[in-house]
Amino acid sequence: MAVNELGDHLRQGHPLPCGRLVEDVFDDLDRGRIDDHGRTCVHCATARRSLTTLMEATRALVDDPAEPPPNLLDRIMQAVRAEGRRGEALPLVPIDDTGAAVVPDLGPVDISRQAVAAVVRYAADTVDGVRARSCRVTVDDADVGALRIEMTLSLRYGAGPANELVETVRARIGSALHGQVGVRAGAVDLEIVDVWPEEGP
């Protein structure tokens, strides 16, 4: 998906203010041709100058013995992860400190599903004797503006009554969504799928 998004971006090109694509100017420059528009347009002339400099710099780079940055792999992986997360996003209504929707609407805001899931899982893990397992976050169709959480849990044997632990988890998920994401929790479906033994002294 990320590769497709990158491909789409590249296919769209980069339009100059005159409407011509930088890619077309580069193509003409590379082939040594120029049309009437290119001869008189200030934008195309500027692009040609910059591209010529770029081509010279590129030639210099070919001979550049510099090693790749030591953190290059980390940066690539972060970018890949961010790109993937951007495609799996939930709409978010921007609000002010009072909780009121920001007016005027300046544009769309979204948050990755995985980011919300991480907040929810962390909230569950803060309950002693509880470990979050799977977590699914979706828009709650039955509650406008709220998120629906479906999570499986593992409990430590002897940590307390399961129904109390589950209610504590539910409350912390609600608080975390409100305090860290800025949305309400709608339906929070919790399922206990495992119990692990209490460790000895």
């Binding site: 990320a2 500027t46 100058r49 940066r75 970018a79 921007p94 769309p108 962390y122 409100h178 860290q180």
Partner: protein, 141 residues
């Protein structure tokens, strides 16, 4: 709509005629990125694959030419000029990670307002759209 003279927007001293217009997107992105980074609750801006390619290219450019490029990682800007009316439209897309100490929705609203205000203050054009994409919430551990 405001129709500022683009020749007065950004640019390096010594650039040729019209270079101001070509660098406008980078200048707007630089201002927008700085505004977003300064917003309380923003941990850092996060670039995607295309942004990383651009940044690596910018780093190589700086190394070879010695000319610095501003840090616009995580920010994409589109500047359109209507060829007939000269009206300018600016849109900004920013991708970021929040620190989890304030609600992400509040941080996003602040980022939109700050970017809008900073771009208007610098260039006299209010962005028509500021999209905010939150890719992560920095939770402890």
């Amino acid at each position: 709509m405001t129709t500022p003279d683009l020749d007065h927007i950004g640019g390096h001293p010594g650039d040729g005629p019209g270079d101001d217009r070509l660098v406008t997107q980078i200048r707007v992105a630089e201002v927008a990125a700085a505004a977003a980074r300064s917003t309380p609750g923003v941990a850092h801006l996060q670039q995607g694959l295309w942004g990383l390619v651009q940044q690596l290219g910018a780093e190589a450019w700086t190394r070879v030419t010695g000319r610095p490029r501003p840090d616009t990682a995580g920010t994409e800007v589109a500047v359109r000029v209507d060829p007939v009316t000269g009206a300018v439209t600016v849109t900004v897309d920013v991708m970021l990670v929040v620190d989890g100490r304030r609600p992400a929705a509040v941080v996003a609203g602040d980022v939109q307002r700050r970017i809008g205000g900073a771009v208007y203050a610098a260039f006299g054009v209010a962005p028509g759209r500021v999209s905010v994409h939150i890719t992560d919430v920095a939770v402890p551990g």
